[in-house]
């Protein structure tokens, strides 16, 4: 059809392509009279769609390059769309788009209740405003010699604490050591989670966390306290204004220690199971929050966990590692826990009959249950559910460190296999997203192209 298409047909095809690109296919299918596509036409549409997508990607990549960015952001794509004569529709869920007859898509006008918006805004904690951009001069070299050695050491020194900051750190310390009552402790953790001015304190708090974790094996630290440590790390990592990303190298090892330590609290405290579970959730929430921004974070965590599973460490360590993989979500479970699960179950089965054994076997069962949710496709559906949370869209590849991290209240919705890329990922995603893909020649043709496109897309998303 594309060979001898007259101008009219070509225009129609491109209108289709534009509409499909904007995610308006369902509306077209529901059009009256319904416009069914025969395979030839679908092929032509798919080619046009591909070309259109490549043009948009190219324009967006050029914008990204000009602003000297490392990754394509949603703004780049929206700017590109705008310069190509479209609306800035990226980031809006498909159901809020309306296809118009000339092949463009617009946003559905929506009425908002001002009171509800205001109430919601009041509920959220204020995030500290980022500091204004300033100019700092430094001599990089004088007469060809590097002039930065002495200035470097000066920068690394952390400023001493002021009086009120000292009090705050002491209050946190008390809360962890169990020196205060329950209400006070809850207040401390709440403040760690939400207070905006924690940035200057973050180095000290991170050091505190890593000190506490280093002492986790001592008899003097009851497991109750260690659970507070896990809660403390988790609360701190959830604070959007604390600049936690600069202290992950202290926080993550500390949390992992609590997950896979040989002994916790002297070793004979039965509560150590709970410590490991709490710490697992903490690691998972950190990975969820920062895993996209620091691409080596997840691999490093998983490496530690797999090392613990493969070694001949005590069963408590393995239990912790398995629980952590469960918390990391179905994708991690599928990839790293499944191959080891049988061996692990056998090892656990050899333990003498006790509560411990029952607990370990329960963990295996829960891992199996988690695996069932990790079948191809279901992963992706979780992802689609999770992409639109709290009115904020996370575009694929958008990793802008300047923005305050977005909070995901319902961590369960977005957990697991979120940034699945590459060949089978793309193909599966397309199929999983549209269960009727097989019947629809257009989508089938598109699906094949999606694989090629994911490849070239990956090149752009470097």
């Amino acid at each position: 059809m594309a060979d001898d298409a007259d101008t009219n047909a070509t225009r129609l095809v491109h209108a289709w392509a534009a509409a499909v690109c904007r995610g308006a296919a369902p509306q077209l299918e529901a059009a009256n009279p319904p416009m069914a596509l025969d395979p030839d036409c679908a092929e032509a549409v798919a080619v046009a769609v591909e070309r259109r997508l490549r043009t948009i990607l190219d324009a967006a990549a050029q914008r990204c390059r000009r602003r000297r960015g490392r990754r394509l952001s949603g703004d780049d794509l929206n700017d590109a769309l705008e310069s190509l004569g479209d609306e800035r529709v990226l980031g809006h869920p498909r159901r809020s788009l309306v296809a118009t007859l000339n092949g463009s898509a617009t946003l559905e006008p929506k009425e908002l209740d001002l009171d509800a918006v205001e109430a919601e805004a009041r509920q959220r904690a204020l995030v500290a405003a980022p500091p204004e951009a300033a100019l700092a001069l430094s001599w990089l070299a004088v007469d060809g010699r590097d002039a930065r050695e002495d200035s470097k050491t000066k920068e690394l020194k952390t400023p001493p604490l002021r009086r009120e900051q000292e009090l705050y750190v002491r209050a946190v310390d008390d809360a962890i050591l169990g020196k205060c009552d329950e209400a006070r402790r809850r207040e401390v953790f709440r403040s760690l989670r939400r207070d905006a001015g924690l940035r200057p304190l973050a180095p000290h708090l991170a050091a505190l966390a890593s000190r506490e974790a280093a002492e986790a094996h001592k008899t003097s630290r009851p497991c109750e306290q260690l659970r507070y440590v896990a809660t403390f790390i988790r609360s701190l990592s959830m604070n959007p204004g604390a600049g936690v990303e600069f202290h992950l190298h202290q926080l993550v090892p500390a949390a992992l220690t609590l997950v896979v330590a040989r002994k916790l609290g002297g070793g004979d405290d039965p509560d150590h199971w709970l410590v490991r579970e709490d710490a697992s959730r903490c690691v998972a929430s950190i990975c969820e929050e920062f895993g996209d921004r620091f691409t080596d974070l997840r691999p490093r965590v998983v490496q530690t966990l797999c090392g613990a599973l493969d070694s001949d460490k005590p069963f408590a360590t393995k239990y912790g590692a398995l629980q952590c993989l469960v918390a990391l979500g179905p994708a991690a479970l599928h990839r790293y826990a499944e191959p080891r699960l049988t061996k692990l179950a056998n090892a656990f089965a050899e333990l003498p009959e006790s509560d411990d054994k029952r607990r370990c076997l329960d963990a295996i069962v829960s891992a199996r249950r988690g695996l069932r949710g990790a079948a191809p496709g279901s992963c992706f559906q979780e992802q689609t559910a999770g992409t639109y949370v709290e009115g904020e869209w996370r575009a694929v590849g958008e990793v802008e460190p300047s923005r305050p991290p977005k909070r995901f209240e319902k961590a369960d919705d977005v957990r697991g296999g979120k940034r699945k890329r590459g060949h089978d990922g793309a193909a599966k995603n397309v199929r999983a997203a549209r269960p009727d893909a097989k019947e629809d020649p257009l989508l089938e043709a598109l699906g094949e192209r999606a694989v090629a496109l994911a490849d070239s897309g990956a090149a752009v998303f470097i």
């Binding site: 594309a2 060979d3 298409a5 070509t10 095809v13 092929e43 032509a44 080619v47 046009a48 591909e50 070309r51 490549r54 043009t55 190219d58 324009a59 050029q62 914008r63 390059r65 000009r66 602003r67 000297r68 960015g69 490392r70 703004d75 700017d79 310069s83 405003a129 980022p130 500091p131 204004e132 951009a133 300033a134 100019l135 700092a136 001069l137 430094s138 001599w139 990089l140 070299a141 004088v142 007469d143 060809g144 010699r145 590097d146 802008e400 460190p401 300047s402 090629a452 070239s456 090149a459």
Partner: protein, 572 residues
């Protein structure tokens, strides 16, 4: 001839799990297979399929060649690949074409990534008709450098193996030259006649009466009085007041003294361009959030942390793509993704400090990627004229007192990424994503040949260009980190080296002309000795190299006293 297994391929398309690896083997290993009648029939129907198999044979032969010849011959692969793909597409054989592309594109990706991407975009007959790169392929020739031995080998092989299609492509679209960059095919556009261009520094008489350009008097109302004293200012030697002691003469460019202009704070990651003024009394930076900030480095510091705050200035609608000082350190220009160029007065008081927009020029229809105005040391036209380049593939010349362009130069095949006005203001250098630099003559008014030189050597998109202060040579850096140097009089490449890993961001000739500074995404800043670059032999090491942790250095610029200013963002 090895048959292309068409029916098998058709079947695979329907199969649930295709095996992409199986195919190329089928192409290469079936050399002696007997032709099935149906296959022969298919082959006759798709004559272009023959081209694909011929290419596979050709590629295999080049891979198997001796090391010495392979270095030369690999340059001839890409032209054949590109035209084979085009012929597949033109015959409506889309499946075959996409398979061909997926099979062979990886081997070309490192050198010709942007070309391959352009080929991908034109994946059907209908879309290829309108594709600018396809038009360019049909019109232009590839230049490939082949030694005598390599040429003999190639001719012998082509005749012996009867690869007629490959031979046809090489005859029609490839021009062989004796000397040049080996192993890379360059797309050379229409032959540009080497017209007489005025190169070199401006003469005394030119300085007194700026001829050539018909720049009108500053009688127009807006900002004229403000501009007059800036534009009519006589040539002055800028001094690095406040930062470099006055007692010293010019610094040694090869042992550079580097001043880092670091943007710190919350918005630092969004900074897209930084430029210090010639006398280092001011610094301007453009941000992706559409604001511009101006600092006075010699002003009183805010606190003990060596920081100077400033207020954001807004006049753009999209992100700011480049900034340039215009004639000294009072006026500056910025270009934005909204296609506009804004003239700023750094001294004008505003509510919260200093700096205000004076004028806004609607420069381009699409995004404007680059703006340049001669600084005062660049003599002619400082602060009075400026050049812009944009996504609409044109490069334009403006006078600050008019909102319409004086000249529009069209000819690039893709976005113009950087422009630079020649020190004598008689021509403009522009570089583009089409991997060429062009020198435009601004003196010719209508009708005449405007494009005086096409400088090519690059196989990747160019990012930034510069002209030496003596006006004799030009340099440019590309997205794959190459640095190219040209002699403007002859239009020949004098050096071509890999300067950075990954994309390079800026390059600049030192005031003395002896050094070129480059910087890039890999966070390094390098200074190259021009004399060593142009000498024959292996690629030289940089005369100076410094690297930040991993934050890219965004911009480099030399002051007239050879102080190197490097701008970038600093993460805290």
């Amino acid at each position: 001839m090895p048959p292309r297994k068409k029916p098998a391929a058709r079947k695979k398309r329907k199969a649930p799990e295709p095996e992409p690896e199986a195919e190329p083997e089928a192409v290469e290993d079936n050399e002696g297979a007997v032709l099935d009648t149906s296959e022969a029939d298919l082959k006759a129907r798709f004559a272009s399929t023959k081209t694909a198999t011929e290419y596979a044979q050709f590629h295999g032969w080049v891979e198997r060649c001796l090391e010495a010849a392979r270095a030369d011959l690999s340059g001839a692969l890409f032209p054949v690949f590109a035209h084979c793909y085009c012929s597949l597409v033109d015959e409506g054989n889309t499946d075959e074409a996409s398979r061909f592309l997926e099979r062979w594109a990886p081997s070309h990706d490192d050198r010709y990534a942007s070309y391959v991407e352009s080929l991908r975009r034109a994946s059907s007959k209908a879309s290829s008709k309108r594709d600018p790169f396809r038009k360019r392929l049909a019109k232009s020739k590839f230049k490939v450098c082949l030694g005598k031995a390599a040429r003999d080998l190639l001719g012998d092989f082509l005749i012996r193996s009867e690869l007629t299609a490959v031979l046809r492509i090489l005859n029609n679209f490839v021009e062989v030259e004796e000397e040049g960059l080996k192993g890379v095919a360059r797309l050379v556009d229409e032959d540009v006649v080497l017209t007489e261009v005025a190169l070199g520094v401006p003469t005394r008489s030119e300085l007194e009466t700026p001829s050539g350009l018909n720049v009108p008097d500053f009688s127009t109302p807006y900002g004229a009085s403000l501009l007059r004293d800036a534009c009519r200012r006589p040539l002055q030697q800028a001094t690095e007041s406040g930062l470099v002691s006055r007692g010293r003469g010019p610094l040694d460019a090869l042992k550079p003294t580097v001043l880092g202009l670091c943007i710190v704070g919350g918005d630092a990651q969004r900074v897209s361009c930084v430029q210090g003024s010639d006398d280092t009394t001011r610094c301007i930076a453009g941000f992706a959030d559409s604001t511009v900030r101006i600092w006075r480095p010699d002003a009183v510091e805010d606190d003990d942390k060596n920081r100077r705050p400033s207020k954001p200035l807004a006049a753009h609608v999209g992100g700011v793509s480049s900034v340039s000082w215009a004639g000294g350190s009072r006026y500056a220009l910025s270009s934005g993704n909204d296609g506009a160029v804004v003239l700023w007065d750094a001294d004008a008081p505003n509510d919260e400090g200093e700096g205000a927009p004076l004028q806004r020029y609607a420069a381009h229809a699409d995004a404007c990627w680059s703006v340049h105005s001669p600084s005062s040391s660049d003599s002619l036209g400082g602060g009075r004229i400026f050049a812009t380049g944009g996504a609409d593939r044109t490069c334009r010349l403006f006078s600050t007192d008019r909102t319409r362009p004086l000249r529009i130069f069209a000819g690039h095949w893709s976005d113009v990424t950087s422009v630079k006005i020649h020190p004598n203001a008689h021509s403009i250098l522009s570089c583009s994503r089409d991997a060429t630099c062009r020198l435009w003559d601004v003196r010719v008014d209508g009708g005449g040949p405007l494009c005086a030189r096409v400088l090519d050597a690059a196989s990747s998109e160019l990012v930034r260009c510069d002209i030496s202060t003596d006006g004799a040579s030009a340099c440019a850096v590309s997205t794959n980190g190459m640095l190219h140097v040209w002699d403007l009089a002859s239009g020949k490449t004098t050096a071509s080296i890999e300067a950075h890993a990954g994309c390079a961001y800026a390059c600049a000739f030192s005031a003395c002309g002896a050094a070129i500074a480059t910087c890039g995404r890999d966070g390094s800043l390098k200074v190259w000795d021009v004399a060593l670059l142009q000498a024959k032999g292996p690629a030289p090491a940089p005369a100076f190299s410094s690297s930040t942790s991993d934050r890219p250095v965004l911009d480099v610029r030399w002051t007239p006293g050879n102080l190197l200013l490097a701008g970038g963002a600093l993460l805290e």
